[in-house]
C-alpha cells in the first residue's frame, strides 16, 4: 500500500522565477508537485495551487495585471471559487490581487528600491489553512525580494480586512516596502486563498538561514491531507 502524498500544482507563467524553488520546497516537505504551464487549463486531482514569484509578463502595465488573463488563471479562479486552496507568493500575490481573488493591490515600494533580505513576520492568525503549524504571535524569519510589495487598500477596505481578520501576517518592526498597516500576507473572506510577499520557499533549509517557510508550506500540505478522504 502506498501512502498518498498531498498533490500541489505550481503554475508557471512566462517570467516566473521561483516555480522550481517552490516545487523543490514542497517536494522536500512531502508533496507531489505538478507543474502547470500558464497556457494549460487541465488540472487534475490537486489539493492546492501555488502561484510562484517572479516577473510574469515583465510586470508590464502593473505587476500581475497581464498574467491574470492566462488560461491557467481561469482554472485557478474556478478552483478557488469551489473552495480550493490557492497560495500566491510575491508575484503570485500580485496576480491574485489583480485577478480579484484577493482584495487590495501591491504598489511600488515607497523607498523606491528593490528589497532583498530576511524580514521578521508576526503571525496574526493560526486558524487559517496556511498557518496551522505556527503559534499565535509567533515571529518568523522569511526573506522578501521585490520592488512592488507595498500593500494598499482604501480606508474602508482596510477596516473591513482588519475586522474580518483577513490580515494573517505582518512585518514585525522592519517594514521593507511601506506596506499599509505592515501587511505582509492576507487571506480572502472565505479563507481559502492566501497571498504573501515574503518567500516561504526560500526558507525551508538551515543552509538558507531559516526554516520558518516550512511552517507555511507545511501547514498547506497538512490541510490538503486533512481534506483528502482516506481510501477505504
Amino acid at each position: 500500500m502506498t501512502e498518498s502524498r498531498p498533490r500541489v500544482a505550481v503554475v508557471v507563467f512566462p517570467g516566473s522565477q521561483d516555480d522550481r524553488d517552490a516545487a523543490l520546497a514542497l517536494e522536500a516537505l512531502g508533496a507531489e508537485v505538478a507543474i502547470l504551464w500558464h497556457a494549460e487549463r487541465e488540472l487534475r486531482d490537486v489539493g492546492a495551487i501555488v502561484l510562484p514569484g517572479g516577473f510574469s509578463y515583465g510586470d508590464y502595465l502593473r505587476a500581475g495585471a497581464i498574467a491574470r488573463f492566462s488560461p491557467a488563471m481561469r482554472r485557478v479562479a474556478e478552483f478557488a471559487a469551489g473552495g480550493g486552496l490557492v497560495l500566491g507568493i510575491c508575484n503570485g500575490f500580485q496576480i491574485l490581487c489583480e485577478a480579484g481573488l484577493l482584495p487590495g493591490v501591491l504598489r511600488p515600494n515607497t523607498a523606491l528600491s528593490f528589497v532583498c533580505r530576511d524580514v521578521q513576520l508576526r503571525v496574526e492568525r493560526t486558524d487559517t489553512p496556511f498557518l496551522t503549524r505556527c503559534e499565535p504571535g509567533q515571529r518568523l524569519t522569511i526573506p522578501v525580494k521585490h520592488g512592488e510589495g507595498c500593500f494598499f487598500a482604501d480606508a474602508e477596505l482596510l477596516t473591513e480586512l482588519e475586522e474580518a481578520g483577513q490580515i494573517v501576517l505582518r512585518y514585525d518592526g522592519d517594514n521593507p516596502n511601506g506596506s499599509l498597516a505592515d501587511i505582509a500576507g492576507i487571506v480572502n473572506a472565505e479563507g481559502n486563498v492566501m497571498g504573501l510577499m515574503p518567500h516561504p520557499e526560500h526558507a525551508v533549509d538551515p543552509l538558507l538561514g531559516s526554516t520558518d517557510g516550512a511552517l507555511v508550506l507545511g501547514s498547506l500540505l497538512d490541510e490538503i491531507q486533512a481534506r483528502t478522504p482516506v481510501p477505504a
Binding site: 504598489r107 511600488p108 494598499f152
Partner: protein
C-alpha cells in the same frame, strides 16, 4: 478610430515614481513640486461611431488598463477627419 487613454495615480495615492522624478528634477536645479507619473495608452479602436468607441474603451479601462483602487483615467477620442 484613434483613442488615447490617460491613466493617472489617484490623488492621495503615494506615487514613488513621481517622487523619484521630482527629486531628480530638483537635483538638476528645477524648482518643481507635485510630480506624478501616469501612463498614456494610444489605441486604434474598431467602432462605427465615437460613442461606441468610448463605451468600448471604458470597458478596456475597467477590465485591464486601470486599477480603480489606485488609478483614474481619461479617455480622449481623436478629432474625426
Amino acid at each position: 478610430m484613434k483613442v488615447s487613454v490617460l491613466v493617472r495615480p489617484k490623488p492621495g495615492i503615494l506615487d514613488p515614481q513621481g517622487k523619484a522624478v521630482e527629486e531628480s528634477l530638483r537635483h538638476l536645479g528645477f524648482a518643481v513640486g507635485g510630480a506624478r507619473v501616469g501612463r498614456l495608452v494610444d489605441l486604434e479602436v474598431q467602432a462605427s461611431d465615437p460613442s461606441e468607441a468610448r463605451a468600448e474603451v471604458e470597458r478596456m479601462c475597467a477590465e485591464l488598463l486601470a486599477n480603480p483602487l489606485i488609478e483614474s483615467y481619461e479617455i480622449e477620442l481623436a478629432e474625426e477627419s
